[in-house]
């Protein structure tokens, strides 16, 4: 068996068994229980929720990410073992969605971690979620979903973006000098 045939076989099996991380980062998580349970039943496709990042293959970013959550998400993503994939759920991960002007919600997810598939909608219907799983399976089986390689290759860029948000050492807006020290 040649190298490419072997990797094709591996990719086939990877696509048939994708485990997602049981982590609800935002309100899109409310549509996950219907997808998991009897009406849509994603276990048909070999997708089951796993308890810890070590065991998971897919990271679902279900909706908006506050700064605090983004930090946890980055840790989580770093803890997952390759190959791993990220699904961005809903408009909030694409451009901030309805929270585009909020002071605590990031606007664009793929600035911080690589995203393999975006699902549009607020919130995406279970059908859309299932469809994205099928699409991800196709991409994995064809060997196209390579977000994790992109992350390793451009780690400095992602890290700089992450640090821009987490590692603030001075106020973002100039006016903040007026903040009373007593407060």
């Amino acid at each position: 068996m040649s190298q490419s045939q072997w990797s094709e076989l591996v990719n086939y099996f990877r696509g048939r068994s994708m485990w997602m991380l049981h982590y609800c980062t935002g309100c899109g998580a409310i549509e996950l229980p219907p997808v998991m349970t009897s009406r849509w039943d994603m276990e048909r496709f070999g997708i089951i929720p796993m308890a810890t990042p070590r065991q998971a293959d897919i990271l679902l970013i279900t909706g908006y990410l506050s700064i605090k959550t983004l930090k946890r998400v980055v840790y989580t993503y770093d803890q997952m073992s390759t190959p791993k994939w990220v699904l961005g759920f809903g408009s909030c991960t694409i451009n901030g969605g309805i929270y585009w002007d909020s002071y605590n919600v990031i606007d664009r997810l793929d600035k911080y971690i690589p995203v393999d598939i975006y699902i549009a909608g607020c919130m995406p219907r279970p059908e859309a979620i299932m469809d994205s799983f099928i699409k991800l399976r196709e991409m994995v089986q064809k060997g196209e979903a390579k977000g994790y390689e992109k992350y390793t290759k451009n780690y400095e860029w992602y890290k700089a973006n992450q640090d821009h948000v987490f590692g603030r050492s001075e106020p973002v807006l100039r006016k903040a000098e007026e903040v009373t020290k007593s407060a």
């Binding site: 700064i67 605090k68 930090k71 901030g96 585009w100 002007d101 909020s102 002071y103 605590n104 919600v105 990031i106 606007d107 664009r108 600035k111 690589p114 991409m139 196209e144 390579k146 977000g147 992109k150 290759k153 451009n154 400095e156 860029w157 992602y158 700089a160 973006n161 821009h164 948000v165 987490f166 603030r168 050492s169 001075e170 106020p171 973002v172 807006l173 006016k175 903040a176 007026e178 903040v179 009373t180 007593s182 407060a183």
Partner: protein
């Protein structure tokens, strides 16, 4: 309900009914503790919420304590105004322990210092150095654009990742 309004008025506070089951009391800052302990003593045992309004044009913060009496099904809103410069207020923790969390939240979002509250650390936000966000002079849009805005040229001197083209 009217009896409470009458008693509070006789105490020299401004009270008036707002609806079928709601009345408000306007008190000066010093008399909040007195008013609340009177209300607690007369059956208003549940603390519903504490919130703050930033009246920037008046230069004042308005604090609203909401307490409820389950026995008589009445809600009382105790309102007080404090100056916006170096705002501070005494804690009501000795009346309701629950106030600790609400005061911590208001300290975080408005910058009001509560004297006597042992824990006023950051709660909802992390590593926040700007103006307290719910103040009227904090511009959330500008903040968001500054911190999260996507600028194509912002590459930190590092080559930005190439887009993967999917067929």
């Amino acid at each position: 309900m009217l009896k409470y309004v009458k008693t509070l008025n006789s105490m020299g506070l401004k009270a008036r009914p707002l609806g079928d089951w709601e009345f408000e009391v306007l008190t000066p800052k010093e008399r909040v503790a007195e008013t609340l302990s009177y209300l607690k003593g007369s059956g208003f045992e549940t603390f519903i919420h504490l919130m703050c309004v930033d009246w920037i044009d008046d230069g004042e913060f308005e604090l609203v304590y909401n307490v409820e009496s389950y026995g008589e099904a009445i809600q009382a809103l105790v309102k007080t105004r404090i100056p916006r410069e170096k705002p501070s207020m005494m804690t009501m923790m000795n009346l309701w322990g629950l106030c600790q969390v609400y005061e911590r939240e208001i300290h975080e979002f408005f910058g009001i210092k509560f004297e006597g509250n042992p824990n006023l650390e950051q709660f909802f936000l992390e590593n926040w150095m700007d103006l307290p966000p719910l103040r009227k002079d904090f511009d959330t849009k500008e903040f968001s654009e500054e911190l999260f805005g996507f600028k194509e040229d912002e590459s930190h001197g590092i080559k930005a990742p190439e887009r993967i083209e999917y067929k």
